[in-house]
């Protein structure tokens, strides 16, 4: 399985997550602006352009990791 295969298979989960955010916004109107904002960011993050850009960054980063050159960041989504 290639990275491209994984990206193709992410369409379903991305749609599920968007539907969840929409449902949460509809059920709790106070949260609707935030839910809409998150849904928009999600849509951008999983767009083809974004994923192509991401994929172009990975080979160099994998090579750096394999050479022991670590450059970590703090990502809230890492603990999901």
């Amino acid at each position: 399985m290639t990275l491209l295969d994984i990206i193709r298979k992410l369409a379903g989960p991305a749609a599920d997550l968007t539907a969840f955010l929409s449902a949460a916004g509809a059920k709790y109107p106070d949260l609707e602006p935030r839910a809409s904002d998150l849904a928009a960011k999600l849509s951008t993050a999983v767009s083809a352009d974004s994923l192509v850009t991401l994929a172009s960054e990975l080979p160099k980063e994998i090579a750096d990791i394999l050479q022991g050159k670590l450059d970590g960041r703090r990502h809230p989504s890492d603990v999901a």
Partner: protein
């Protein structure tokens, strides 16, 4: 791909030993867990923990172990996650990736299967509650095509730069 994921995970275990700066995060968590097609109410709640090691700006090794309170199951996962948003934003990110899942109740939770997922993490109050992260994740198992969605909260433990 599986070899790369396994290599990244093994590297993550050793990462704190030779990292130039802390990259590891450990968190306690609570989730609502929705199975595929049922978004009305969480059929189960889970308690557990997550571990992660950010190895590069976009690549992290991740894992988790959770216990289902309603149906009394244990599930675990490990894999790789690739951050698809601004890597320098510590308060919000979206990651895509793939994890290997195992479960004590194969008919209820994905078991012995790789599963792509999309994950969202948001720190709602970085100043007042810097260790609290809200998360949501959706994915599905490649073997059993069993989908899930979870949403919950994480409390980041004060180790390894997990603030």
């Amino acid at each position: 791909m599986k070899r790369i994921v396994l290599s990244l995970f093994l590297l993550a275990l050793a990462a704190p030993a030779f990292a130039a700066e802390p990259v590891a995060t450990l968190a306690l968590g609570a989730n609502g867990y929705w199975s595929q097609g049922d978004l009305d109410y969480p059929p189960d709640f889970e308690l557990g923990s997550n571990g992660a090691a950010s190895l590069s700006p976009h690549i992290s090794a991740v894992g988790g172990l959770y216990f289902g309170l309603g149906e009394s199951y244990l599930r675990g996962s490990f894999g790789a996650r690739f951050t698809a948003t601004d890597v320098n934003d510590p308060n919000f990110s979206i990651g895509i990736g793939i994890q290997y899942h195992a479960s004590s109740e194969p008919d209820k939770r994905p078991d012995r299967t790789w599963a792509p997922d999309v994950s969202l993490g948001w720190r709602p109050s970085p100043v007042n509650m810097p260790r609290v992260v809200l998360i949501a994740q959706a994915g599905y198992g490649l073997k059993d095509e069993q989908g899930w969605l979870l949403a919950g909260a994480r409390y980041l433990l004060p180790i390894g730069g997990g603030r």
